[in-house]
Symmetry: C2
Subunit: 251 residues, 2 copies
């Protein structure tokens, strides 16, 4: 399927669809909150790599000129005062003239590069969502926006940890190199079998847990910072852009 077809037809998670095109996290907040959110992303670029910011009220993005952000994601989340109130498949009726949308890079982009480099992805093999954890590292706050860094974890064969770090490190626009490899306690994670978001994933013999800054971080910050209103994508139901993954490779 092309990105356009996925945007028109997909009704479930977007992992593995329109392979080779970047997918993005969506966060839309009232203009009054947009500066704090934009500054939060600037101050925390590893978990919050911004691919585009729309003009207030405009549901279009340069990442996919024909798309409509109000209808072209398979599922959304609606938040009032930091509390999840609905998970609709369309937000056209909820859109407001003062909403500013942030499109934030997604690890699906560097997973394609990992696969191309021969690094196995256990969660894909096991048909599960990647495991994600809130850490004990606070992001650098910006105005009213604050929250912990969220990481995704992938089990990587010990001999390939360096390859995984190098390949993802060349994609700083989509989370870049890992923030940590090895003992999860170093990030304040007590139990890898109990992720805060996504699914638990099983290790193979000789695998090491490797942690990357995760695009769920700004959503966790929204929950902690409680803006009066926000719209985000539903987990795994991303916005599929027209931008090839390769555009986010440095050098």
């Amino acid at each position: 399927m092309t990105p356009e077809e996925v945007r028109a037809r997909a009704s479930g998670p977007t992992a593995g669809l329109a392979t080779g095109f970047a997918q993005a996290n969506l966060i839309a907040v009232p203009a009054d909150w947009a500066y704090d959110v934009l500054l939060f992303t600037q101050r925390n670029p590893k978990p919050c790599p911004v691919l585009d910011v729309t003009d207030a009220g405009d549901p279009r993005t340069v990442l996919a000129p024909g798309a409509d952000l109000r209808t072209d994601l398979p599922r959304y989340r609606v938040w009032h005062d930091g509390v999840l109130t609905d998970e609709p498949t369309d937000v056209a009726a909820l859109w407001r003239d003062d909403l500013v949308a942030f499109l934030i890079g997604c690890s699906f982009t560097f997973e394609g590069a990992l696969t191309a480099a021969g690094v196995p992805l256990r969660h894909v093999e096991q048909g599960r969502n990647v495991s994600m954890y809130a850490t004990d590292r606070e992001c650098r706050p910006a105005g009213r926006v604050h929250g912990p860094m969220v990481v995704s974890m992938r089990w990587i064969p010990a001999a390939q940890v360096e390859t995984a770090a190098r390949v993802s490190g060349l994609m700083p626009a989509v989370h870049g190199a890992p923030v940590h490899a090895g003992d999860p306690a170093a990030l304040g994670i007590a139990d890898l079998a109990a992720p805060d978001f996504g699914d638990p994933v099983e290790a193979a013999e000789g695998d090491v847990p490797v942690f990357w800054a995760c695009g769920v971080t700004p959503q966790a910050a929204l929950m902690a910072s409680r803006p009066p209103f926000a719209i985000t994508h539903a987990p795994g139901h991303m916005f599929v852009t027209d931008v090839p993954d390769d555009e986010y490779r440095a050098g």
Copy 2:
């Protein structure tokens, strides 16, 4: 000299001082303009790579925790309604509680990497400032902030253009790979001997002009967009940070 010594003592241009530490362009605007400036930098990351944004009124930056942005640059420029009104060596008396300071990456950082890779820098050999030109490419505007992309030009031996592109491409946080090599007319530049900023620089036999997005771009946008008040560094009189250049290398 250490970065701290340069900040305390330098009274002229900072090129070649505190080698190995990143230098930054300064732009401070009233909080009312900060969102437009921040969005402009997000939308134009090649010419405007943001290294830090301060809280309103705060003259300190994480890039150099002991420094004071009001006194530690060798020379400033003061702007009213887009018009240059003064070039003082200290702006402590002009600082306002609502000023937000943007520190933007500088090509001095990738020039160190070019030199290390054996690429000659003609402007350094000739003891001149690098040549800079306003192009016919408009930046993507953000609210009230708009203006042309400004580029710096370096004469590079034809056989080393690829090396220069690869080395700078690994530093996306400080302008990254060139935007163009060869015919200046492709960027709307009529005469390389008449730069809009900096000095003319002479080519050696077999040199090709190579153009990089330039940190003077946001200053040109300020001149075009006319905020009521702004403070910037004076050309070449940069803010010297405590951050090693290597921190801005990807991978």
